[in-house]
């Protein structure tokens, strides 16, 4: 089946898969958002324990999604993996450090004799949820704004700036995207808490927090979208690259399906806020979650289709990466495509387990009586 597809079709299929994984990861970053709200929503230790316990049942999914996103990029677009990770070294390393400290913090935070103390582990969670997510936004932003790299005819690459990716933090679009994702994660976290925890005080606090974060999110989101639509991108034809004005606006207009996904996704996020504030619903997380996946999916797909560079080079335009010049071979992509058929099955059991585990909302009594709570 897949072996009969053209190389370009396989490359587009895999860019879609990578985009979907990226979108699912951004959805699941409500865990990170929640980590930054422990002291905003949890007014005492008992409430904070409930919040951590609620997030703690999902944190591994965020970790796994990130690993999966990286693994899929490596397998399907190894040159992108090589150029970006090997070049934007400091940014990726900083992101990794933010995730190392998350991994242990849930388990160690409340354990006796934990060496660093609860507050340190809570600050680890905060750093992961704030610096980690903003840096991921900056790193993703560079897919649109470019990186300072060159590659030779053997496809071996080097970064041309000794700041190794940190210079990306000086680009307003990258920063705006970083803060958009940060506040989106917090918005979703509040919606998640309201859906997952049976505690009037926490729900009330989450709603107040949601209002503040939603305003900031919308501000950054609109800024990011406006910047995206007016910015230039890089187009290519065979091995020739050219800077195109309003590239992403044109990509939206030329691919109505992506525009529809983006608009539907945006509507669903706004709808989630509407029913939460005006209908007292606690199901907003589902609408905002689906909306987030659709918006981020359309964002990533803007890069992979319509002859667009997925990683423009700011040092040598001809070194820019596309889904065509950075992908794995036809054989590997078609083999991997059979494996990708397992993704719906994986999603199905994740959803099934999630439903079973969250059938009953978490209460402070349950956490107090559970010997193995986080």
């Amino acid at each position: 089946m897949f072996e009969n597809m053209s190389l370009l079709s396989l490359q587009q299929y895999w860019w879609f898969i990578v985009s979907l994984l990226g979108a699912l990861f951004i959805f699941i970053t409500f865990v990170q958002g929640g980590q930054t709200l422990l002291y905003n929503i949890g007014k005492d230790e008992a409430q904070r324990n409930v919040l951590v316990a609620s997030l703690g049942r999902k944190w591994e999914l965020s970790f796994t999604s990130l690993v999966m996103f990286g693994g899929a990029l490596f397998a399907a677009f190894p040159l992108f993996y090589s150029v970006s990770f090997g070049g934007a070294y400091y940014v990726w390393m900083a992101i990794l450090f933010c995730f190392i400290i998350q991994a242990v913090s849930y388990e160690y935070r409340k354990k006796p004799n934990n060496f660093l103390g609860s507050r340190v582990y809570e600050s680890f969670l905060y750093i992961n949820g704030s610096v980690g997510i903003i840096l991921i936004g900056i790193a993703v932003g560079t897919l649109f704004t470019g990186g300072h790299f060159i590659k030779n005819e053997m496809n071996l690459s080097a970064w041309t700036m000794h700041s190794y990716g940190l210079e990306g933090a000086l680009n307003p679009f990258n920063v705006a995207l970083g803060f958009t994702l940060f506040f989106l994660a917090r918005v979703q976290a509040s919606l998640y808490f309201m859906n997952n925890i049976a505690d009037d005080s926490i729900v009330k606090n989450a709603k107040i927090q949601l209002f503040r974060d939603a305003l900031l999110f919308l501000g950054f989101f609109i800024t990011t979208i406006v910047m995206l639509l007016v910015m230039s991108g890089v187009s290519y034809h065979n091995t020739f690259f050219v800077v195109s004005e309003y590239k992403f606006l044109h990509n939206f207009l030329n691919t109505p399906l992506l525009l529809a996904l983006f608009l539907l996704g945006t509507f669903l996020v706004l709808f989630a806020l509407f029913i939460t504030f005006f209908r007292k619903s606690t199901k907003g997380i589902w609408f905002s979650g689906i909306g987030t996946v659709l918006v981020i999916l359309s964002f990533f797909c803007l890069l992979g289709f319509n002859a667009t560079a997925i990683y423009p080079s700011l040092s040598d335009l001809a070194s820019s990466l596309t889904i065509e010049n950075s992908s794995a071979s036809h054989y590997t992509l078609s083999t991997m495509s059979y494996v990708s058929l397992g993704v719906p099955f994986v999603l199905a059991y994740i959803i099934a387990v999630w439903r079973v585990m969250d059938r009953k909302k978490i209460t402070s009594e349950e956490i107090a009586s559970d010997a193995h709570h986080y």
Partner: protein
Amino acid sequence: MDSTLLVELSRAQFALTALYHWLFVPLTLGLSFIIAIMESLYVKTGDETWKKITKFWMGLFAINFAIGLATGIILEFEFGTNWSNYSWIVGDIFGAPLAIEGIMAFFMESTFFAVMFFGWDKVSKKVHLLSTWLVAIGSNLSALWILVANGWMQHPVGMEFNLNTARFEMKNFFDVLFNPNAISKFLHTVSSGYVMGALFVVGISAWYLLKKRDILFAKRSIIVAASFGLLASVFLTLTGDESAHQVALTQPTKLAAMEGLYDGKSRAGIVAIGQLNTDKKIGDGQKEFIWSIEIPYALSFLGFRNINAFVPGIDDLVLGNPTLSIEPAQSKIDKGKVAIASLKTYKEAMRENDNTKATIAFQSFRENQSFLGYGYLNDPAKIIPPVGITFYSFHIMVGLGSWFLALFFFVLYFSMVGKIETKPLLLKLAFLSIPLGYVAGEAGWIVAEVGRQPWAIQSMLPVGIATSSIDPISIMITLGLFATIFTGLLIAEIKIMLKQVSIGPEGEAHV
């Protein structure tokens, strides 16, 4: 840029991460199955004591699991950050197992981990048990895919170099998956994890017996873990034998270093124990060992299944052995340099649209492609990995593995006859063997990875070509940070573990 420093720092950072990762993963691999067996006994018998036992070990499992995840994610991304040339040159093959690992194993582990820990009152007993087994299976599936990738690095198969893209590309996925080196490596590695898990449970339970507390809990834990450990040890021995056989067939320089063998011979014996002569140089005719005890014929037999087989030594592999048609390393280097030059010529010809020149270069490359990696070396002696660390690590691993087999046998025997509490020396030895399990595991990894040097991909890609082009100072900074963070987290883990063991299954701290 100082390329030697860059390579050494890149290796140091990866080695640090891998060594820390390998402190935590074996316990996850082994303990997950032991817990699953214990919970199966609970579900089968309905005995609440088994549930208590399961939950106690599950608690320790969780403490260890988190830090294993943390170090694991770093390893995956370090292929990109520190080995970016590697990621491109072999990413077409190497990336696939990593992605499959994510889809097939990581999600299974992380999804059912939540049920295993928080689902006791949310799902039925059977569904909970299934979740516990799925966590164990997921952990081991994860090991399968990463070791398929590692096995391919040790013995690259199922691929071909594409001159147009200047990289190796996969040609047969099943050759990669069923690479004999990968299969033996997987089985040997996971069985070492099972032994580690068993040592951990037996050792801590022995401590409880020595302290005369939680007796029933400790005895039952020992029975399960020692049985599991004994079976795993037998399996470990068999898979170790097959793993070494594969090394003999595909990585002769590693085998020579593992045995400190310079002068190759037929009917070669295995050095059971010995002290290397550190003044020994290639081809100088000096004795290899200050002293040694050898098992005659064993190396020929175990390596090649034939006591008369010739086992090439370091001198043969570096200087060549015309009698046995072993090519000198310098000849391989020369051919490798032809392959590299042909690749460059091919690229030039393609740029100039000169088909004749391209065809000649293409043919020349194909004739010499098996030696491509050698072309990046300048000194024939560089094909030999560090002998001392490889030799001693291998012998430490084998020696400790033999000890664990004996330990499990005696612990299980005295447990079965009801006399384990009366054997304080055995109990002390069991407790003291916990750190030895970690030593053996790390030694095994050193043999596998240091023994592969100077190659990132055996004979195809030396580590010196595989690194990222970044300033060494950048790696110094991150290496320092990793060392600090990993060490800090290790201290935290040990302190928490010790406290949890002190608290015990009954949930009250003992002073």
